[in-house]
Symmetry: C2
Subunit: 318 residues, 2 copies
């Protein structure tokens, strides 16, 4: 399954050739999306430094074009802006900065909550609330109240998860594995991406469809997969920053089982491959039905999984 | 306007006899609601101590019966449970306990977030997630996806606001007045009560109605009024606990203007009376229309305002 033949310096990685074989489809609008992101960042300077900005704009436009390869150009650009906003917010106000000062992130979360309730932000010193306000107005204008509220709920949950993460980053060993596993989909943004799919691709699950065991199982598998392959891809970069181990699945499994790194990566790779198997089975079941919201959702989840698999191979992680 | 003739020991209070004259209507189902709350608390022991439990159940059933005097008995009891849950959560895990240990409240907020995403809580050591899960299932079963999501959004915002409050309770003077004013409606639960109105009283605003300036203005006035009269009613009790001044409007105005307490209370009483005037004008405009979701909403907001006016006269504050 996962490649135990790798050299020691490159820990084992999951193998998705059976479950999500390439080549993965990509939208033809990636270049246009990249230009739109750069222009949007002139209005909302979320990333002050040129090099991280250019890397993030590149990975985001390519990532978005793989997440929703069939999206119309405007929808794709709007989604890419949301993805960029999330990643930039996490880079600027989450992660290391938030771990050093959780109260500052709590204050940011308050400002974002006001925007989510419909308040127009007044300050321009911090571009994140204004940029979020702009995005929410655009999403709200192009979709139903229920789909908009679903997206907004996932954003609220992500912010809650980032605040939670900030309060535990200094002592990751104190986090229960089950809590980490439940929180991880929200810090990797995959729940927001799933909520955005119905808007970007213009289908709508009925409440009864959303509650189906097969739909919930598919969403959970893709959500877990996204977090775990991201942890595998980012662990060594984050661990090298020290002095504390990153709040990441390899850290928690090492602490729990006293395994070597290679053993941990082998184990997580197996977990990823199992979730990919489960996701593939559910996709096959749901997508073989006649064209419907359910089959559209299954195809969307397939591409979301593919985009995370693609994403970890990008230069940002090397 | 506000009574500057009071003795020094009883600071000036707002006068609502012109804007919200009594007697305020109350539901005939208050006793039944009280019994249902006590029975529910046997299943979910949110309040371990008998005396606070009995006081809170009493104020909640009477308060709910004034908030929604025309609600059907089952809807009234469900709403009262939600109100009880919010107040009990704040008493047990917010306020003083949270100020001493904000990280613990952050962990609770994570557990509640999981429940809000649809996860069934496993632990029974802490009854709050299970009780919330029970409430959400009942609300979801009796309303539309958009109304349910609106209620859930307001609960997420309340939890975010309580976490914010916990991070500032030790140093209230560091909080900007504008931020406090924007946050206060969420910590006093009035936004959740407004969101619940459409479910409990079974009407539904169209998105275009929800966005009307008059509706937003009415909601803001009632939301401000609720927070400010609550601050006036609870300030002396909270301040007497010391050593730090409570995170409350009187504290922030004293710090900003170096006023005496009587001057602060006179000023806030005037603010309350102004908001009550504004609310009354908007209610008159919206409620005089033909029976519709808009007039139902105006009447609901009128009773929500009355319930907060009534609430501060209850024994809990004396």
């Amino acid at each position: 399954m996962s490649g135990t033949h790798h050299a020691a310096a490159i820990p084992p990685q999951p193998d998705f050739t059976a479950t999500f074989p390439g080549p993965h489809p990509a939208s033809p609008h990636s270049r246009r999306t990249e230009r739109e992101l750069l222009s949007w960042l002139e209005e909302y300077p979320l990333l002050p430094h040129a090099k991280p900005r250019s890397i993030l704009v590149n990975i985001t436009s390519h990532g978005a074009s793989r997440t929703f390869p069939t999206a119309a150009p405007d929808d794709l650009a709007l989604f890419a802006k949301l993805l960029l906003w999330l990643t930039a917010f996490d880079d600027e106000h989450g992660e290391a900065n938030a771990a050093a000062n959780p109260a500052a992130l709590v204050n940011h979360s308050g400002e974002l909550m006001f925007v989510l309730t419909g308040v127009t932000p007044s300050s321009t010193a911090n571009p994140f609330p204004g940029a979020l306000h702009d995005l929410l107005a655009r999403f709200r204008a192009r979709t139903s109240p229920a789909k908009y509220l679903g997206l907004a709920a996932s954003l609220r949950d992500t912010i809650t998860a980032l605040v939670w993460e900030a309060h535990h980053a200094a002592e990751p060993d104190g986090v229960a594995l089950a809590t980490y596993l439940a929180m991880r989909p929200h810090t990797v943004f995959v729940r927001t991406i799933i909520a955005a799919a119905e808007i970007v691709l213009d289908y709508e699950l009925a409440d009864s469809q959303r509650g189906l065991a097969s739909v919930r199982c598919l969403e959970s598998s893709v959500a877990n997969l996204a977090g775990w392959i991201n942890d595998l891809a980012s662990y060594q970069r984050e661990a090298s920053r020290g002095p504390v181990q990153p709040l990441s699945l390899p850290t928690l499994l090492q602490a729990r089982y006293h395994w070597e790194l290679e053993q941990v990566f082998t184990h997580i790779s197996g977990m990823c491959e199992d979730e990919a198997d489960t996701a593939r089975q559910r996709i096959t079941e749901l997508a073989c039905a006649a064209p419907s919201a359910l089959s559209a959702h299954a195809r969307a989840l397939e591409n979301i999984a593919r985009s995370f698999i693609w994403h970890t191979s990008h230069a940002r992680y090397h």
